[in-house]
């Protein structure tokens, strides 16, 4: 992977100036390269990793992983039905997988009721959906390489030869 991407993947807020310092390139060429990545869709967007479990708010969202069995369509394959599903704003991720079912989707909602409604009213009635199995998410331990634990204490002694 390009070094600039390697740095940005760890810290999206780092400035072009800082990247230039770290990689010994000039700022203009770093900026140009980032623009190019953005244009080509290699960089899609810059995200913040939030540990939702620590937020105390009334409108916390809950999530469910849903296994979806579908009937693939002649000439359209899975892509057509996947598109029908992932366009719902409730769906935050959608994958085609191998194994006993076809699509694995992640759905987000205010509460269990909202998610059940989505499944009952939107997902299941779709013509090509044969069946669904829903797993409500209980606790997140690690997401996108980040272990969701508040502050790992430093175990090194502060000074040594």
């Amino acid at each position: 992977m390009d070094e600039i991407l390697e740095i940005l993947e760890k810290d999206a807020r780092i400035t072009a100036q800082e990247i230039a310092k770290l990689t010994k390139k000039d700022v203009a060429s770093v900026k140009k390269k980032i623009k190019k990545f953005e244009k080509e869709g290699i960089i899609l967007r810059y995200k913040t990793v939030i540990n939702e479990q620590l937020i105390e708010t009334q409108n916390k969202k809950i999530r469910a992983l849903i296994e979806v069995n579908v009937l693939p369509q002649k000439n359209l394959g899975f892509d057509y039905i996947a598109e029908r599903i992932y366009k719902f704003p409730e769906v935050t991720s959608c994958y085609l997988v191998s194994g006993t079912y076809d699509l694995l989707i992640v759905v987000e909602g205010r509460d269990m009721q909202t998610i059940s409604n989505f499944i009952a009213e939107k997902l299941s009635p779709l013509e090509h959906v044969r069946g669904t199995v829903t797993h409500f998410l209980l606790k997140k331990y690690k997401e996108d390489n980040v272990i969701l634990k508040y502050r790992d204490e430093n175990k090194r002694i502060a000074i040594s030869y």
Partner: protein, 393 residues
Amino acid sequence: MKKRKNIDFVSKCVEKMAPSGIRAFFDLVLGMKDVISLGVGEPDFVTPWNIRETAIFSLEQGYTSYTSNKGLYKLRLYLERFLKERFELVYCPENEILITVGVSEALDLAVRAIVNPGEEIIVPQPSYVSYGPIVELAQGKPISLPTTEKENFKINPEKLAKLCSAKTKGIILNYPSNPTGISYTRKELEAINKVCQRYNLLVITDEVYGELTYEGRHIPFPALAGAKERTIYLNGFSKAYAMTGWRLGYACGPKELIAAMTKIHQYTMLCAPIISQLAACEALQAGRRDVESMRREYKRRRDFMLDGLNALGLACVKPQGAFYLFASIGKFSLNSLEFANRLLKEEKVAVIPGVAFGKGYDKFIRISYASNYMQLKEAIERMGRFCRKLKLS
């Protein structure tokens, strides 16, 4: 007969090795909160999980006994393969490799195995803190070979030759170096090797930072023509695999010397801990992918710190490896311990006074960049404030 006080029981040699003001400085750092420490001599991440997991599994399986004095045969076999593939170094796992408790023990064994009382060992300076004392404990005489900032802290072969006499038994090399991060090209090493051969020196080479080389390829000393037969090569798992606390190193060399070292090792240490040895097997089998990304990360930090420090007037010779910068404080009127003390108290940044690494280095500080980028950035800011204040006063 006069009654001995407790202090009278301490041997002359040990008493002489008095800790300097640096011990007090260390205690001060350890007692302070919210310090950004650039004084750490170990990697800033924990041992990769697969290695830790292997150790846990081995405990569950009941691997809790001694191993052979030389170390697990399996580990020596993996090391043989690693050294061959990585450096084209050929050592026989039966009698040319010894597993030790860290490189520190390996170094102690090597020195004790070769030194008769009064014989001289050349120690290039600035050097890691233990080299001199280890020679003294073996009743040898450490002979300093100072290197200067002008020489880029590299050994000058002519100066080396001038220090050699019939009493000189060997030399301790360390590259990439702690505290300077300096390493050598093949040509430079060959020039050193030539002098060593001319004066019949045994070379003890501590290459524990070898995997952390950012410019060029690391050339192990025994890979030079004619050097292997008179070199004890030391390496370990601490830096490359972030395994400092596991205390595991190894020595490779001619079988007569490894046999001599094994004799001391069997009476003093018996063997290295089996759990660490099993973990090291996993490190060698699976580990290299982690090493590569870590190396790139350190290189970026080095470049960032090098620019930052030079801009503050703390000039550094550009290091080729390890994770240290040896910065000059020649522009300020403080000595290294005063500088470190005030920097700690006034800006809460910890660095190591250069005087710890040799008498002539009181105008330098050692800065470790084994910390994350956010901390390094903050440290540079604080040091900037400190340096501006010093100039004004």
